[in-house]
Protein backbone atom coordinates (compact mmCIF):
# COMPACT_ATOMS: atom_id res chain seq x y z
CA UNK A 1 0.00 0.00 0.00
CA UNK A 2 2.78 2.41 0.94
CA UNK A 3 4.69 1.68 -2.26
CA UNK A 4 1.66 2.19 -4.47
CA UNK A 5 1.00 5.49 -2.76
CA UNK A 6 4.51 6.59 -3.46
CA UNK A 7 4.33 5.57 -7.09
CA UNK A 8 1.11 7.51 -7.51
CA UNK A 9 2.79 10.70 -6.45
CA UNK A 10 5.46 11.33 -9.08
CA UNK A 11 6.34 14.96 -9.76
CA UNK A 12 5.14 15.91 -13.20
CA UNK A 13 8.41 16.60 -15.07
CA UNK A 14 6.82 18.28 -18.10
CA UNK A 15 4.88 20.65 -15.87
CA UNK A 16 8.07 21.63 -14.06
CA UNK A 17 9.92 22.26 -17.32
CA UNK A 18 7.10 24.39 -18.69
CA UNK A 19 7.09 26.39 -15.48
CA UNK A 20 10.80 27.16 -15.90
CA UNK A 21 10.52 28.06 -19.58
CA UNK A 22 7.74 30.61 -19.12
CA UNK A 23 7.88 32.37 -15.73
CA UNK A 24 4.50 31.79 -14.05
CA UNK A 25 2.28 34.75 -13.35
CA UNK A 26 -0.51 32.85 -11.67
CA UNK A 27 -1.87 33.71 -8.24
CA UNK A 28 -2.11 37.35 -7.30
CA UNK A 29 1.25 39.05 -7.48
CA UNK A 30 4.20 38.88 -5.10
CA UNK A 31 4.36 36.85 -1.89
CA UNK A 32 3.63 39.04 1.15
CA UNK A 33 6.86 39.57 3.09
CA UNK A 34 4.80 40.02 6.24
CA UNK A 35 4.17 36.27 6.09
CA UNK A 36 7.32 35.01 4.36
CA UNK A 37 9.81 36.71 6.67
CA UNK A 38 8.42 35.32 9.95
CA UNK A 39 7.97 31.94 8.26
CA UNK A 40 11.65 31.78 7.27
CA UNK A 41 12.76 33.00 10.72
CA UNK A 42 10.54 30.39 12.36
CA UNK A 43 11.99 27.65 10.21
CA UNK A 44 15.56 28.79 11.02
CA UNK A 45 14.69 28.85 14.71
CA UNK A 46 13.58 25.23 14.56
CA UNK A 47 16.36 23.93 12.34
CA UNK A 48 19.46 25.91 13.42
CA UNK A 49 19.90 24.38 16.90
CA UNK A 50 19.81 20.92 15.36
CA UNK A 51 22.29 22.01 12.71
CA UNK A 52 24.50 23.44 15.51
CA UNK A 53 24.43 20.06 17.20
CA UNK A 54 25.67 18.42 13.99
CA UNK A 55 28.30 21.10 13.33
CA UNK A 56 29.80 21.04 16.82
CA UNK A 57 29.74 17.25 17.11
CA UNK A 58 33.19 15.74 17.77
CA UNK A 59 32.98 13.53 14.69
CA UNK A 60 36.55 12.05 14.87
CA UNK A 61 36.06 10.74 18.41
CA UNK A 62 32.37 9.97 18.05
CA UNK A 63 32.53 6.19 18.04
CA UNK A 64 35.04 6.13 20.85
CA UNK A 65 32.85 8.35 23.01
CA UNK A 66 29.75 6.30 22.19
CA UNK A 67 31.56 3.19 23.41
CA UNK A 68 32.28 4.67 26.83
CA UNK A 69 30.67 2.55 29.57
CA UNK A 70 28.61 5.38 31.10
CA UNK A 71 27.18 6.25 27.70
CA UNK A 72 26.32 2.66 26.86
CA UNK A 73 24.85 2.18 30.33
CA UNK A 74 22.63 5.24 30.01
CA UNK A 75 21.58 4.24 26.50
CA UNK A 76 20.76 0.69 27.55
CA UNK A 77 18.79 1.90 30.57
CA UNK A 78 16.90 4.44 28.45
CA UNK A 79 15.94 1.90 25.80
CA UNK A 80 14.93 -0.66 28.42
CA UNK A 81 12.82 1.75 30.49
CA UNK A 82 11.14 3.36 27.46
CA UNK A 83 10.25 -0.07 26.04
CA UNK A 84 8.85 -1.42 29.31
CA UNK A 85 6.96 1.84 29.89
CA UNK A 86 5.47 1.57 26.38
CA UNK A 87 4.44 -2.03 27.05
CA UNK A 88 2.72 -0.91 30.26
CA UNK A 89 1.00 1.91 28.39
CA UNK A 90 -0.25 -0.59 25.80
CA UNK A 91 -1.59 -2.98 28.43
CA UNK A 92 -3.51 -0.27 30.28
CA UNK A 93 -3.87 2.44 27.64
CA UNK A 94 -5.54 0.45 24.85
CA UNK A 95 -8.38 -0.80 27.12
CA UNK A 96 -8.71 2.72 28.53
CA UNK A 97 -8.99 4.14 25.02
CA UNK A 98 -11.60 1.48 24.19
CA UNK A 99 -13.59 2.42 27.29
CA UNK A 100 -13.51 6.10 26.38
CA UNK A 101 -14.42 5.48 22.76
CA UNK A 102 -16.96 2.66 22.95
CA UNK A 103 -18.73 2.67 26.32
CA UNK A 104 -20.92 5.57 27.31
CA UNK A 105 -21.03 6.20 31.03
CA UNK A 106 -21.61 9.27 33.17
CA UNK A 107 -18.48 11.36 33.59
CA UNK A 108 -16.91 10.14 30.35
CA UNK A 109 -16.07 13.65 29.19
CA UNK A 110 -14.46 14.47 32.50
CA UNK A 111 -12.46 11.25 32.34
CA UNK A 112 -11.28 12.04 28.84
CA UNK A 113 -10.12 15.45 30.04
CA UNK A 114 -8.32 13.91 33.03
CA UNK A 115 -6.48 11.46 30.78
CA UNK A 116 -4.94 14.32 28.84
CA UNK A 117 -3.76 16.21 31.94
CA UNK A 118 -0.26 14.62 32.00
CA UNK A 119 0.07 15.89 28.43
CA UNK A 120 0.02 19.53 29.52
CA UNK A 121 1.23 19.15 33.09
CA UNK A 122 4.87 20.20 33.64
CA UNK A 123 6.71 16.86 34.03
CA UNK A 124 8.32 18.03 37.28
CA UNK A 125 4.86 18.49 38.75
CA UNK A 126 4.04 14.98 37.57
CA UNK A 127 7.10 13.73 39.40
CA UNK A 128 6.07 15.48 42.59
CA UNK A 129 2.57 14.07 42.30
CA UNK A 130 3.96 10.57 41.78
CA UNK A 131 6.13 10.99 44.87
CA UNK A 132 3.12 12.02 46.92
CA UNK A 133 1.15 8.95 45.88
CA UNK A 134 3.77 6.28 45.24
CA UNK A 135 6.60 7.59 47.45
CA UNK A 136 7.62 5.64 50.54
CA UNK A 137 5.29 7.79 52.65
CA UNK A 138 2.77 8.21 49.84
CA UNK A 139 -0.85 7.11 49.88
CA UNK A 140 -0.33 4.00 47.79
CA UNK A 141 3.44 3.72 48.25
CA UNK A 142 3.12 3.08 51.98
CA UNK A 143 0.75 0.21 51.35
CA UNK A 144 2.91 -1.18 48.53
CA UNK A 145 5.90 -1.27 50.83
CA UNK A 146 4.15 -2.79 53.83
CA UNK A 147 2.26 -5.41 51.80
CA UNK A 148 4.64 -6.37 49.00
CA UNK A 149 7.90 -4.82 50.17
CA UNK A 150 8.00 -2.83 46.94
CA UNK A 151 9.46 0.68 46.78
CA UNK A 152 9.28 2.61 43.56
CA UNK A 153 11.01 5.96 44.08
CA UNK A 154 14.69 6.10 43.15
CA UNK A 155 14.62 2.69 41.43
CA UNK A 156 14.58 1.59 37.79
CA UNK A 157 10.93 0.64 38.28
CA UNK A 158 10.38 4.24 39.35
CA UNK A 159 11.86 5.46 36.06
CA UNK A 160 9.41 3.22 34.20
CA UNK A 161 6.47 4.50 36.25
CA UNK A 162 7.45 8.13 35.66
CA UNK A 163 7.88 7.58 31.93
CA UNK A 164 4.60 5.68 31.62
CA UNK A 165 2.77 8.44 33.51
CA UNK A 166 4.00 11.10 31.12
CA UNK A 167 3.75 9.07 27.91
CA UNK A 168 0.44 7.21 28.28
CA UNK A 169 -1.81 10.07 27.10
CA UNK A 170 -0.07 9.97 23.72
CA UNK A 171 -1.07 6.35 23.31
CA UNK A 172 -4.60 6.76 24.68
CA UNK A 173 -5.37 9.74 22.45
CA UNK A 174 -4.00 8.03 19.35
CA UNK A 175 -5.85 4.76 19.98
CA UNK A 176 -9.07 6.50 20.93
CA UNK A 177 -8.94 8.48 17.71
CA UNK A 178 -8.40 5.28 15.73
CA UNK A 179 -11.34 3.64 17.51
CA UNK A 180 -13.61 6.57 16.76
CA UNK A 181 -12.55 6.50 13.13
CA UNK A 182 -13.03 2.73 12.76
CA UNK A 183 -16.32 1.60 11.20
CA UNK A 184 -18.30 0.10 14.07
CA UNK A 185 -20.46 -1.89 11.68
CA UNK A 186 -17.60 -4.38 11.31
CA UNK A 187 -18.04 -5.05 15.01
CA UNK A 188 -21.78 -5.55 14.45
CA UNK A 189 -21.05 -7.97 11.62
CA UNK A 190 -18.72 -9.93 13.91
CA UNK A 191 -21.41 -10.03 16.61
CA UNK A 192 -23.96 -11.49 14.17
CA UNK A 193 -21.41 -14.24 13.47
CA UNK A 194 -21.44 -15.19 17.14
CA UNK A 195 -18.39 -13.30 18.38
CA UNK A 196 -18.41 -12.20 22.01
CA UNK A 197 -17.38 -8.64 22.77
CA UNK A 198 -13.88 -9.79 23.75
CA UNK A 199 -13.53 -11.82 20.52
CA UNK A 200 -14.81 -8.86 18.51
CA UNK A 201 -12.18 -6.64 20.10
CA UNK A 202 -9.36 -9.13 19.66
CA UNK A 203 -10.09 -10.36 16.15
CA UNK A 204 -11.81 -7.41 14.48
CA UNK A 205 -11.39 -4.11 16.31
CA UNK A 206 -7.72 -4.45 17.21
CA UNK A 207 -6.56 -5.40 13.68
CA UNK A 208 -8.63 -2.55 12.24
CA UNK A 209 -7.09 0.06 14.55
CA UNK A 210 -3.58 -1.42 14.45
CA UNK A 211 -2.06 1.53 12.54
CA UNK A 212 -3.36 3.86 15.25
CA UNK A 213 -2.04 1.59 18.00
CA UNK A 214 1.40 1.41 16.42
CA UNK A 215 1.56 5.16 15.80
CA UNK A 216 0.48 5.76 19.39
CA UNK A 217 3.02 3.29 20.74
CA UNK A 218 5.83 4.87 18.75
CA UNK A 219 4.92 8.37 19.96
CA UNK A 220 4.59 7.00 23.47
CA UNK A 221 8.00 5.34 23.25
CA UNK A 222 9.65 8.50 21.92
CA UNK A 223 8.12 10.57 24.70
CA UNK A 224 9.24 8.03 27.31
CA UNK A 225 12.75 7.99 25.89
CA UNK A 226 13.08 11.76 26.23
CA UNK A 227 11.47 12.00 29.66
CA UNK A 228 13.46 14.16 32.08
CA UNK A 229 11.46 16.15 34.63
CA UNK A 230 9.25 13.46 36.14
CA UNK A 231 12.09 10.93 36.08
CA UNK A 232 14.61 13.07 37.94
CA UNK A 233 11.98 14.12 40.49
CA UNK A 234 10.51 10.71 41.15
CA UNK A 235 13.39 8.35 40.39
CA UNK A 236 16.44 10.51 41.03
CA UNK A 237 19.73 10.30 39.20
CA UNK A 238 21.72 7.17 40.06
CA UNK A 239 24.13 5.85 37.43
CA UNK A 240 23.11 2.44 36.22
CA UNK A 241 19.65 2.39 37.82
CA UNK A 242 17.90 5.67 37.10
CA UNK A 243 20.28 7.81 35.02
CA UNK A 244 18.70 7.71 31.57
CA UNK A 245 20.03 9.48 28.47
CA UNK A 246 18.37 12.85 29.03
CA UNK A 247 19.69 12.93 32.59
CA UNK A 248 23.15 11.95 31.38
CA UNK A 249 23.04 14.76 28.79
CA UNK A 250 22.15 17.30 31.42
CA UNK A 251 24.93 16.17 33.75
CA UNK A 252 27.56 15.85 31.03
CA UNK A 253 26.90 19.40 29.91
CA UNK A 254 28.49 20.73 33.14
CA UNK A 255 31.57 18.53 33.09
CA UNK A 256 32.12 17.30 29.51
CA UNK A 257 30.21 19.32 26.88
CA UNK A 258 31.42 17.08 24.05
CA UNK A 259 29.94 14.01 25.69
CA UNK A 260 26.65 15.89 26.02
CA UNK A 261 26.72 16.61 22.30
CA UNK A 262 27.33 12.95 21.48
CA UNK A 263 24.48 11.79 23.71
CA UNK A 264 22.22 14.44 22.23
CA UNK A 265 23.08 13.27 18.74
CA UNK A 266 21.98 9.75 19.65
CA UNK A 267 18.62 11.02 20.90
CA UNK A 268 18.25 13.20 17.80
CA UNK A 269 18.96 10.23 15.55
CA UNK A 270 16.34 8.16 17.37
CA UNK A 271 13.75 10.94 16.98
CA UNK A 272 14.43 11.32 13.27
CA UNK A 273 14.19 7.56 12.71
CA UNK A 274 10.87 7.45 14.57
CA UNK A 275 9.47 10.36 12.59
CA UNK A 276 10.53 8.82 9.29
CA UNK A 277 9.10 5.40 10.18
CA UNK A 278 5.81 6.96 11.31
CA UNK A 279 5.44 8.93 8.10
CA UNK A 280 6.15 6.07 5.75
CA UNK A 281 4.83 3.01 7.44
CA UNK A 282 1.84 3.93 9.51
CA UNK A 283 0.51 7.41 9.01
CA UNK A 284 -0.18 7.04 5.31
CA UNK A 285 -1.26 3.39 5.38
CA UNK A 286 -5.01 2.99 5.72
Amino acid sequence: MATSERSERPVNPSGGAAGRAAPPRKGSGRLPWMLVLPAVLGLAFLVLPLAGLLIRAPWPTLLQRLAEPQVLEALRLSLFCATVATALCLVFGVPLAWLLARVSFPGRRLMRALVTVPLVLPPVVGGVALLLVLGRRGLVGQWLESTFGVTLPFTTAGVIVAEAFVAMPFLVISVEGALRGADQRYEEAAATLGASRWTVFRRVTLPLIMPGVVAGAVLCWARALGEFGATITFAGNFPGTTRTMPLAVYLALETEPEAAIVLSLVLLAVSVIILASLRDRWVTTP
Binding site: D183, R185, E188, A189, A190, T192, G194, P207, M210
Partner: protein
Protein backbone atom coordinates in the same frame (compact mmCIF):
# COMPACT_ATOMS: atom_id res chain seq x y z
CA UNK B 1 -38.07 -23.17 11.95
CA UNK B 2 -40.96 -20.78 11.80
CA UNK B 3 -40.31 -17.18 12.71
CA UNK B 4 -42.99 -15.18 14.47
CA UNK B 5 -42.08 -11.60 15.20
CA UNK B 6 -43.79 -8.50 16.46
CA UNK B 7 -41.34 -5.64 16.20
CA UNK B 8 -41.87 -2.23 17.79
CA UNK B 9 -39.01 0.24 17.56
CA UNK B 10 -39.35 3.94 18.27
CA UNK B 11 -37.28 6.23 16.09
CA UNK B 12 -37.19 10.03 16.14
CA UNK B 13 -38.83 10.15 12.70
CA UNK B 14 -41.35 7.30 13.08
CA UNK B 15 -42.38 4.26 15.04
CA UNK B 16 -41.86 0.90 13.45
CA UNK B 17 -44.63 -1.50 14.38
CA UNK B 18 -44.92 -4.65 12.27
CA UNK B 19 -45.76 -8.30 12.71
CA UNK B 20 -44.43 -10.98 10.44
CA UNK B 21 -44.38 -14.75 10.16
CA UNK B 22 -41.87 -16.61 8.03
CA UNK B 23 -42.15 -20.35 7.39
CA UNK B 24 -39.11 -22.64 7.13
CA UNK B 25 -37.54 -22.38 3.69
CA UNK B 26 -39.64 -19.32 2.90
CA UNK B 27 -38.08 -16.08 1.65
CA UNK B 28 -39.91 -12.94 2.70
CA UNK B 29 -38.93 -9.56 1.27
CA UNK B 30 -39.48 -6.35 3.19
CA UNK B 31 -40.07 -3.81 0.46
CA UNK B 32 -40.48 -0.10 0.94
CA UNK B 33 -39.20 3.38 0.18
CA UNK B 34 -36.06 4.73 1.84
CA UNK B 35 -36.61 5.54 5.49
CA UNK B 36 -39.68 3.30 5.79
CA UNK B 37 -38.08 1.21 8.53
CA UNK B 38 -37.09 -1.92 6.59
CA UNK B 39 -33.48 -1.93 7.74
CA UNK B 40 -34.55 -1.06 11.28
CA UNK B 41 -36.80 -4.14 11.23
CA UNK B 42 -33.92 -6.32 10.05
CA UNK B 43 -31.56 -4.91 12.68
CA UNK B 44 -34.20 -5.54 15.32
CA UNK B 45 -34.45 -9.18 14.22
CA UNK B 46 -30.65 -9.45 14.48
CA UNK B 47 -30.62 -7.74 17.87
CA UNK B 48 -28.51 -4.82 16.66
CA UNK B 49 -31.38 -2.45 17.41
CA UNK B 50 -33.29 -2.82 20.67
CA UNK B 51 -37.03 -3.50 20.60
CA UNK B 52 -39.21 -1.00 22.43
CA UNK B 53 -41.92 -3.65 22.63
CA UNK B 54 -42.83 -6.92 20.96
CA UNK B 55 -41.24 -10.30 20.64
CA UNK B 56 -39.31 -12.52 18.29
CA UNK B 57 -39.97 -16.25 18.45
CA UNK B 58 -38.06 -18.78 16.36
CA UNK B 59 -39.14 -22.43 16.54
CA UNK B 60 -41.14 -21.69 19.64
CA UNK B 61 -38.22 -20.25 21.62
CA UNK B 62 -37.80 -16.53 22.24
CA UNK B 63 -35.02 -14.78 20.33
CA UNK B 64 -35.46 -11.27 21.66
CA UNK B 65 -34.12 -12.22 25.08
CA UNK B 66 -30.80 -13.29 23.54
CA UNK B 67 -27.88 -10.99 22.75
CA UNK B 68 -26.77 -10.58 19.13
CA UNK B 69 -23.98 -13.16 19.34
CA UNK B 70 -26.28 -15.77 20.90
CA UNK B 71 -28.91 -15.61 18.17
CA UNK B 72 -28.86 -18.38 15.53
CA UNK B 73 -28.77 -15.86 12.70
CA UNK B 74 -26.71 -15.14 9.64
CA UNK B 75 -26.67 -11.61 8.26
CA UNK B 76 -25.53 -10.18 4.94
CA UNK B 77 -24.99 -6.45 5.19
CA UNK B 78 -25.62 -3.93 2.45
CA UNK B 79 -21.93 -3.27 1.77
CA UNK B 80 -20.99 -6.77 2.98
CA UNK B 81 -18.61 -5.57 5.72
CA UNK B 82 -16.08 -8.28 4.99
CA UNK B 83 -13.24 -7.96 7.50
CA UNK B 84 -10.54 -6.18 5.48
CA UNK B 85 -7.64 -7.79 7.34
CA UNK B 86 -8.78 -11.38 6.74
CA UNK B 87 -8.72 -13.44 3.54
CA UNK B 88 -12.00 -14.57 1.97
CA UNK B 89 -11.49 -17.99 3.55
CA UNK B 90 -10.85 -16.59 7.03
CA UNK B 91 -13.84 -14.26 6.69
CA UNK B 92 -16.05 -17.30 6.11
CA UNK B 93 -14.27 -19.31 8.82
CA UNK B 94 -14.77 -16.48 11.35
CA UNK B 95 -18.26 -17.60 12.42
CA UNK B 96 -17.44 -21.29 12.96
CA UNK B 97 -14.31 -20.23 14.90
CA UNK B 98 -16.52 -18.13 17.19
CA UNK B 99 -18.68 -21.20 17.77
CA UNK B 100 -15.64 -23.01 19.15
CA UNK B 101 -14.81 -25.12 16.09
CA UNK B 102 -11.12 -25.88 15.61
CA UNK B 103 -9.19 -23.78 13.14
CA UNK B 104 -8.68 -26.65 10.68
CA UNK B 105 -12.34 -27.70 10.86
CA UNK B 106 -13.55 -24.10 10.42
CA UNK B 107 -11.35 -23.67 7.38
CA UNK B 108 -12.68 -26.92 5.88
CA UNK B 109 -16.26 -25.67 6.35
CA UNK B 110 -15.30 -22.31 4.86
CA UNK B 111 -13.57 -23.91 1.86
CA UNK B 112 -16.65 -26.04 1.16
CA UNK B 113 -18.90 -22.97 1.27
CA UNK B 114 -16.59 -20.93 -0.96
CA UNK B 115 -16.67 -23.85 -3.37
CA UNK B 116 -20.47 -23.77 -3.32
CA UNK B 117 -20.51 -20.09 -4.30
CA UNK B 118 -17.80 -20.74 -6.90
CA UNK B 119 -14.97 -18.81 -5.28
CA UNK B 120 -12.41 -21.52 -4.51
CA UNK B 121 -9.84 -19.65 -6.59
CA UNK B 122 -10.24 -16.53 -4.48
CA UNK B 123 -10.01 -18.14 -1.05
CA UNK B 124 -6.73 -16.45 -0.16
CA UNK B 125 -7.69 -13.04 -1.58
CA UNK B 126 -8.22 -10.10 0.75
CA UNK B 127 -11.65 -8.43 0.39
CA UNK B 128 -10.25 -5.35 -1.38
CA UNK B 129 -9.04 -7.62 -4.20
CA UNK B 130 -12.57 -9.00 -4.77
CA UNK B 131 -15.11 -7.58 -7.21
CA UNK B 132 -18.50 -6.48 -5.92
CA UNK B 133 -20.18 -9.69 -7.04
CA UNK B 134 -17.47 -11.85 -5.48
CA UNK B 135 -17.61 -9.91 -2.21
CA UNK B 136 -21.38 -10.43 -2.14
CA UNK B 137 -20.93 -14.19 -2.50
CA UNK B 138 -18.26 -14.27 0.23
CA UNK B 139 -20.64 -12.34 2.49
CA UNK B 140 -23.38 -14.89 1.80
CA UNK B 141 -20.99 -17.79 2.46
CA UNK B 142 -19.88 -16.12 5.70
CA UNK B 143 -23.48 -15.76 6.86
CA UNK B 144 -24.32 -19.38 5.95
CA UNK B 145 -21.17 -20.72 7.64
CA UNK B 146 -22.69 -20.33 11.11
CA UNK B 147 -25.56 -22.67 10.06
CA UNK B 148 -28.17 -20.02 10.87
CA UNK B 149 -31.82 -20.83 11.33
CA UNK B 150 -32.73 -17.28 10.33
CA UNK B 151 -30.98 -15.60 7.41
CA UNK B 152 -31.15 -11.80 7.15
CA UNK B 153 -30.14 -9.93 4.01
CA UNK B 154 -29.96 -6.12 3.92
CA UNK B 155 -30.19 -4.80 0.35
CA UNK B 156 -28.08 -7.73 -0.87
CA UNK B 157 -27.80 -6.42 -4.44
CA UNK B 158 -27.86 -2.65 -3.96
CA UNK B 159 -24.09 -2.19 -4.10
CA UNK B 160 -23.72 -3.96 -7.47
CA UNK B 161 -23.72 -2.49 -10.97
CA UNK B 162 -26.57 -3.40 -13.30
CA UNK B 163 -24.78 -6.18 -15.17
CA UNK B 164 -23.35 -7.94 -12.10
CA UNK B 165 -26.68 -7.56 -10.40
CA UNK B 166 -28.47 -9.65 -12.98
CA UNK B 167 -25.98 -12.50 -12.56
CA UNK B 168 -25.73 -12.34 -8.77
CA UNK B 169 -29.51 -12.13 -8.42
CA UNK B 170 -30.07 -15.48 -10.11
CA UNK B 171 -27.23 -17.09 -8.13
CA UNK B 172 -28.60 -15.68 -4.90
CA UNK B 173 -32.02 -17.06 -5.75
CA UNK B 174 -30.52 -20.54 -6.14
CA UNK B 175 -28.66 -20.32 -2.82
CA UNK B 176 -31.76 -19.07 -1.03
CA UNK B 177 -33.74 -21.98 -2.48
CA UNK B 178 -31.19 -24.39 -0.97
CA UNK B 179 -31.44 -22.78 2.46
CA UNK B 180 -33.95 -24.55 4.71
CA UNK B 181 -34.30 -21.89 7.42
CA UNK B 182 -36.39 -18.72 7.36
CA UNK B 183 -35.07 -15.85 5.24
CA UNK B 184 -35.93 -12.17 5.54
CA UNK B 185 -34.48 -9.79 2.99
CA UNK B 186 -34.79 -6.06 2.72
CA UNK B 187 -34.86 -4.25 -0.60
CA UNK B 188 -36.23 -1.13 -2.23
CA UNK B 189 -36.00 -2.73 -5.67
CA UNK B 190 -39.29 -4.40 -6.72
CA UNK B 191 -37.49 -6.61 -9.25
CA UNK B 192 -35.13 -8.01 -6.60
CA UNK B 193 -38.12 -8.61 -4.36
CA UNK B 194 -40.19 -10.35 -7.06
CA UNK B 195 -37.33 -12.60 -8.19
CA UNK B 196 -35.94 -13.52 -4.78
CA UNK B 197 -38.94 -13.65 -2.48
CA UNK B 198 -41.83 -16.06 -2.00
CA UNK B 199 -43.80 -13.37 -0.24
CA UNK B 200 -43.61 -9.57 -0.12
CA UNK B 201 -44.29 -7.32 2.84
CA UNK B 202 -44.53 -3.68 1.86
CA UNK B 203 -43.63 -1.21 4.61
CA UNK B 204 -44.32 2.51 4.55
CA UNK B 205 -43.75 4.87 7.50
CA UNK B 206 -43.00 1.99 9.82
CA UNK B 207 -46.21 0.04 9.16
CA UNK B 208 -47.18 -2.81 6.83
CA UNK B 209 -49.36 -1.47 4.02
CA UNK B 210 -49.63 -4.62 1.94
CA UNK B 211 -48.42 -8.21 1.86
CA UNK B 212 -48.85 -11.23 -0.33
CA UNK B 213 -47.19 -13.33 -3.00
CA UNK B 214 -45.38 -11.21 -5.63
CA UNK B 215 -47.95 -11.85 -8.38
CA UNK B 216 -50.80 -10.77 -6.10
CA UNK B 217 -48.99 -7.58 -5.01
CA UNK B 218 -48.11 -6.77 -8.61
CA UNK B 219 -51.70 -7.25 -9.77
CA UNK B 220 -53.49 -5.59 -6.89
CA UNK B 221 -51.42 -2.72 -5.48
CA UNK B 222 -52.94 -1.01 -2.47
CA UNK B 223 -50.85 2.15 -2.16
CA UNK B 224 -49.49 4.71 -4.59
CA UNK B 225 -45.97 3.57 -3.72
CA UNK B 226 -46.70 -0.04 -4.67
CA UNK B 227 -48.61 1.03 -7.79
CA UNK B 228 -45.60 3.08 -8.91
CA UNK B 229 -43.27 0.14 -8.20
CA UNK B 230 -45.31 -2.26 -10.31
CA UNK B 231 -46.10 0.36 -12.93
CA UNK B 232 -49.88 0.71 -12.67
CA UNK B 233 -52.31 3.61 -12.46
CA UNK B 234 -54.15 3.16 -9.18
CA UNK B 235 -57.27 4.91 -7.80
CA UNK B 236 -59.35 4.50 -4.72
CA UNK B 237 -63.08 5.04 -5.02
CA UNK B 238 -66.49 3.61 -4.32
CA UNK B 239 -67.86 0.72 -6.39
CA UNK B 240 -71.55 0.57 -7.31
CA UNK B 241 -71.81 -2.75 -9.11
CA UNK B 242 -70.89 -1.73 -12.64
CA UNK B 243 -68.01 0.65 -12.00
CA UNK B 244 -65.90 2.54 -9.51
CA UNK B 245 -66.57 6.20 -8.87
CA UNK B 246 -63.25 8.05 -8.52
CA UNK B 247 -63.90 11.70 -7.76
CA UNK B 248 -66.22 12.90 -10.50
CA UNK B 249 -65.29 10.12 -12.91
CA UNK B 250 -67.04 6.77 -13.03
CA UNK B 251 -64.65 4.08 -14.25
CA UNK B 252 -66.54 1.10 -15.69
CA UNK B 253 -64.98 -2.22 -14.91
CA UNK B 254 -65.71 -5.82 -15.72
CA UNK B 255 -65.42 -6.77 -12.02
CA UNK B 256 -68.69 -6.59 -10.09
CA UNK B 257 -68.11 -4.92 -6.70
CA UNK B 258 -69.89 -2.87 -4.06
CA UNK B 259 -68.39 -0.42 -1.55
CA UNK B 260 -64.88 1.02 -1.19
CA UNK B 261 -62.68 -0.31 -3.97
CA UNK B 262 -59.43 0.11 -5.82
CA UNK B 263 -59.27 0.25 -9.57
CA UNK B 264 -56.01 -0.25 -11.45
CA UNK B 265 -54.99 -0.24 -15.08
CA UNK B 266 -51.70 -0.26 -16.96
CA UNK B 267 -50.43 2.93 -18.62
CA UNK B 268 -50.25 0.97 -21.88
CA UNK B 269 -54.02 0.41 -21.69
CA UNK B 270 -54.68 4.15 -22.00
CA UNK B 271 -55.38 5.39 -25.54
CA UNK B 272 -55.17 9.09 -26.45
CA UNK B 273 -57.24 10.99 -29.08
CA UNK B 274 -57.32 14.55 -30.43
CA UNK B 275 -61.13 14.48 -30.52
CA UNK B 276 -63.72 12.54 -28.57
CA UNK B 277 -63.65 8.92 -29.76
CA UNK B 278 -66.79 7.00 -30.67
CA UNK B 279 -67.32 3.29 -30.32
CA UNK B 280 -66.53 0.59 -27.81
CA UNK B 281 -64.24 2.10 -25.09
CA UNK B 282 -66.55 2.93 -22.25
CA UNK B 283 -64.21 5.02 -20.13
CA UNK B 284 -63.50 8.33 -21.78
CA UNK B 285 -62.38 11.52 -20.12
CA UNK B 286 -60.84 14.79 -21.14
CA UNK B 287 -57.31 15.35 -19.85
CA UNK B 288 -54.54 17.91 -20.03
CA UNK B 289 -51.00 16.88 -20.92
CA UNK B 290 -48.64 17.70 -18.06
CA UNK B 291 -45.48 16.28 -19.55
CA UNK B 292 -43.95 13.75 -21.90
CA UNK B 293 -40.91 11.54 -21.25
CA UNK B 294 -39.16 8.53 -22.72
CA UNK B 295 -40.08 5.25 -21.10
CA UNK B 296 -38.21 2.28 -22.52
CA UNK B 297 -39.19 2.01 -26.18
CA UNK B 298 -42.34 3.99 -25.60
CA UNK B 299 -43.31 7.45 -24.52
CA UNK B 300 -44.92 8.08 -21.15
CA UNK B 301 -47.48 10.87 -21.14
CA UNK B 302 -48.40 12.45 -17.80
CA UNK B 303 -52.11 13.36 -17.77
CA UNK B 304 -53.98 15.72 -15.46
CA UNK B 305 -57.77 16.06 -15.36
CA UNK B 306 -60.48 14.33 -13.35
CA UNK B 307 -57.84 11.69 -12.55
CA UNK B 308 -54.04 11.87 -12.67
CA UNK B 309 -52.80 9.12 -14.96
CA UNK B 310 -49.87 7.88 -16.99
CA UNK B 311 -50.37 6.79 -20.58
CA UNK B 312 -47.77 4.83 -22.52
CA UNK B 313 -47.95 5.35 -26.28
CA UNK B 314 -45.55 4.63 -29.14
CA UNK B 315 -43.31 7.39 -30.49
CA UNK B 316 -45.20 7.10 -33.79
CA UNK B 317 -48.51 7.76 -32.04
CA UNK B 318 -46.93 10.74 -30.30
CA UNK B 319 -45.87 12.14 -33.69
CA UNK B 320 -49.30 11.48 -35.25
CA UNK B 321 -51.15 13.14 -32.40
CA UNK B 322 -48.68 16.04 -32.27
CA UNK B 323 -48.96 16.23 -28.49
CA UNK B 324 -47.41 19.04 -26.49
CA UNK B 325 -47.63 19.85 -22.78
CA UNK B 326 -50.63 21.94 -21.82
CA UNK B 327 -52.74 20.52 -24.65
CA UNK B 328 -56.20 19.02 -24.08
CA UNK B 329 -56.73 15.43 -25.24
CA UNK B 330 -59.26 12.64 -24.83
CA UNK B 331 -58.14 9.59 -22.92
CA UNK B 332 -59.88 6.23 -22.91
CA UNK B 333 -59.51 2.85 -21.24
CA UNK B 334 -61.50 -0.28 -22.06
CA UNK B 335 -63.45 -1.72 -19.15
CA UNK B 336 -61.84 -5.10 -19.80
CA UNK B 337 -58.38 -3.57 -19.29
CA UNK B 338 -59.18 -2.32 -15.79
CA UNK B 339 -59.02 -4.33 -12.63
CA UNK B 340 -61.13 -3.53 -9.58
CA UNK B 341 -60.80 -5.07 -6.12
CA UNK B 342 -62.10 -4.27 -2.64
CA UNK B 343 -60.22 -1.60 -0.69
Amino acid sequence: MTLHAHLVVTRPAFTLDISLTVAPGEVVALLGPNGAGKTTALRALAGLTALARGEIVLDGSPLHTLSVEERPIGMVFQDYLLFPHLSALDNVAFGPRCQGVSKAEARRTAAALLDRVGLTDHATAKPRRLSGGQAQRVALARALAVRPRLLLLDEPLAALDAHTRLEVRSQLRRHLADFDGATVLVTHDPLDAMVLADRLIVIEHGAIVQQGVPAEVARRPRTDYVARLVGLNLYRGVADGSGVKVGQLLISTSDRLEGPAFVAFAPAAVALYRSRPDGSPRNVWQARIEGVERHGDNVRVHLDGPIVAFADITPAALADLDLTPGQQVWASVKATETHAYPA
